[in-house]
Amino acid sequence: MTIQATDAVLLDIHERMVRIRIFEEEAGKLMENGKVPGALHLYVGQEAVAAGVMAHLKDTDHITSTHRGHGHVVAKGGQFNEMYAELYGKAAGYCKGRGGSMHICNMEIGMLGANGIVGGGIPIAMGAAFSKKFRKTKEVAASFFGDGASNEGSFHEAANMAALYKLPLILVCENNGFGEYTRQDNHQAIVDVADRAAGYGMPGVVVDGMDAIAVFEAAGEAVARARNGEGPTLLECKTYRFYDHVGVRGMGLSYRTDEEVDAWKRRDPIKLLEEKLIEQGISTKRKISAVHKRVRDEAMAAIKFAEDSPLPDPDGLLEDVYYEKA
């Protein structure tokens, strides 16, 4: 049964998007102020994709993500305390501080892991989908990846096997127009990654990735197909990252123009959805501001929690590395 875009569902999608945006805004500040170790790849601009797809998934459905994975974790139900603690490398983090930004993983919410390897998550999600089919659950798996990853062997191998075995897999390509700093027309001869689906014997569709309702509707059909045993779908969402490849301002490389960024920002997915919520009388400016404030307060409290949390104990270095009999 496809989930309908009721008022409650739309408000839920909106909240997921606001949670991603605010988590990332604050994470960006932490990185640029040198508060957290390493580089962060932030999801700002792409929120409609994670929120629109995840609104159809349960904790028992599994996803894999990318190096730009915070948005997927938040949308899947990840908690700010454990997420910020992970960015800080603290023991209270989702991976006890050992994974960091690019490897957040939590089985309770069905998050099989962000992944620093481009395209690395796709075969993992395909494997999860295989398991679901083998065990005859009605669960699905979804893998998020970018236009760049669709050039990787891992994408092609996983797509082939998923179509062959009709696995309950949704391949969500977040085409943000760039593989890191390389424009799409410099890394592939096609513009619609969805065109590749036909080569594997699965449907491929293109949807406006800045329109959360459009993503929600398209993802609903793909998830319903998967749950009904009709096999995988390649869902291409045309989107854009507002921040740089790394961090907020990034390295200041001239691979895209300010005009292009501004043009996409005029279609900010959160603002687009908020306009519709207000226009349809589903929410008000005041209620929307209250959501933003509540989430911001939660983020600030979680950052404090992360800062105050202890680092992992060096004596535990080998814990969770080797299999130990219980």
Binding site: A5, V191, V205, V206, V207, E217, E221
Partner: protein
């Protein structure tokens, strides 16, 4: 007088979610390129020497034209490059300004609708590469190119090879006007969303320029009750109600739904039909405009749409006039000595 042949390819046609819910065909852009190449072969044989094309974001027309260097002069018209429907609308305007004698469009109903927003009385030969394909024709591109080429090159007149299509003009209170070629549908949906129009129980009313029982789309609902052909000088209005008796209609390719029809009536040209929001208006199979509560829109039908070149008629005329006959120079007969 020979005029340029126009080409407008919609790179985004045939890719939306109707491939999931309605089993619509997938048109990848390599196939669209192959279609343009075949059409150009036909156009060259028909006498076309000059082509103007809308530069699409996927470079389909441009790359298809590469192999015709020396046979055709090709010119990219100046048009917006947004990767959206704006490109098709702006491209149509540019082809009109350039004075194209015939235009090949590649897309579905939505593409041709967008094209006609930019150039309402365009001389079109629409090749079907879309989802809902009531307006464009499923035709071998070689012949489509030849037929359009005969008109562009002035060997056939538009009046003899084409028929003017009906169209619906939509005036939206306080906002820009809109346009439909086949159908304008009022739905209880709230959002444009993924655009697909697939929830039959949400439909409130439909105005059809044609009601075709042999086509997929909203047109089939009327078609299975009271057919109206593209040649009839009137349209059909349907009141839709999920509680009413109705028809089992193919509302999209690969998708039958039972649609309740509370009433139907003929609509004369020029008759105004007023719609009041909240509702979403869908044109030619896609949700397009959301009306706010109390906001009004007025729909009117006329035979003031594009001229549509009829491939069969054009080729029949070509045969009658011997336009493709070839006379060979006879060799002198050798006699045995």
């Amino acid at each position: 007088m020979a005029k340029p042949l126009g080409i407008a390819v919609n790179p985004a046609s045939g890719k939306d979610i109707r491939r999931l819910v309605a089993r619509a065909s997938v048109f990848d852009n390599q196939e669209k390129r192959a279609i343009v190449r075949r059409a150009l072969v036909g156009a060259v044989e028909a006498g076309v020497r000059e082509v103007c094309y809308v530069p699409d974001s996927h470079g389909i027309a441009k790359s298809a034209l590469e192999e015709f260097e020396g046979k055709l002069s090709a010119e990219a018209v100046e048009s917006p490059q947004t990767g959206s429907v704006i490109d098709t609308v702006g491209g149509a305007r540019a082809l009109a300004e350039r004075g194209c004698g015939a235009v090949l469009t590649l897309g579905g109903d939505g593409t041709n609708r967008a094209f006609c927003i930019g150039w309402q009385d365009a001389p079109l030969l629409p090749i079907s590469t879309g989802t809902n394909n009531v307006f464009p024709v499923l035709v071998e591109a070689t012949l489509a190119g030849a037929a359009a080429g005969l008109v562009a090159s002035g060997r056939l007149t538009l009046a003899e090879a084409a028929v003017r299509a009906k169209a619906i003009t939509v005036k939206v209170e306080g906002q820009r006007d809109d346009f439909a070629l086949i159908d304008a549908v009022v739905t209880r949906e709230r959002f444009v969303g993924s655009r697909a129009l697939l929830a039959g129980d949400m439909l409130k009313a439909a105005l059809l320029t044609r009601a075709d029982p042999a086509a997929a789309g909203m047109t089939s609902i009327g078609g299975l009750i009271k057919p109206v052909s593209k040649d009839d000088d009137y349209g059909l209005y349907l009141e839709l109600d999920p509680e009413a008796d109705g028809v089992n209609a193919p509302i999209a390719p690969g998708l039958y739904q039972v649609i309740g029809v509370a009433g139907h009536r003929r609509v004369a040209f020029g008759k105004a039909i007023t719609v009041t929001g909240p509702c979403v208006l869908a044109f030619d199979g896609e949700r397009e405009r959301a009306l706010k509560p109390g906001q009004k829109a007025t729909l009117r039908m006329q035979r003031d749409g594009p001229w549509v070149i009829d491939v069969a008629r054009a080729m029949q005329l070509a045969a009658e006039r011997g336009l493709f006959r070839i006379k060979r120079a006879r060799k002198a007969r050798r006699t045995a000595s």
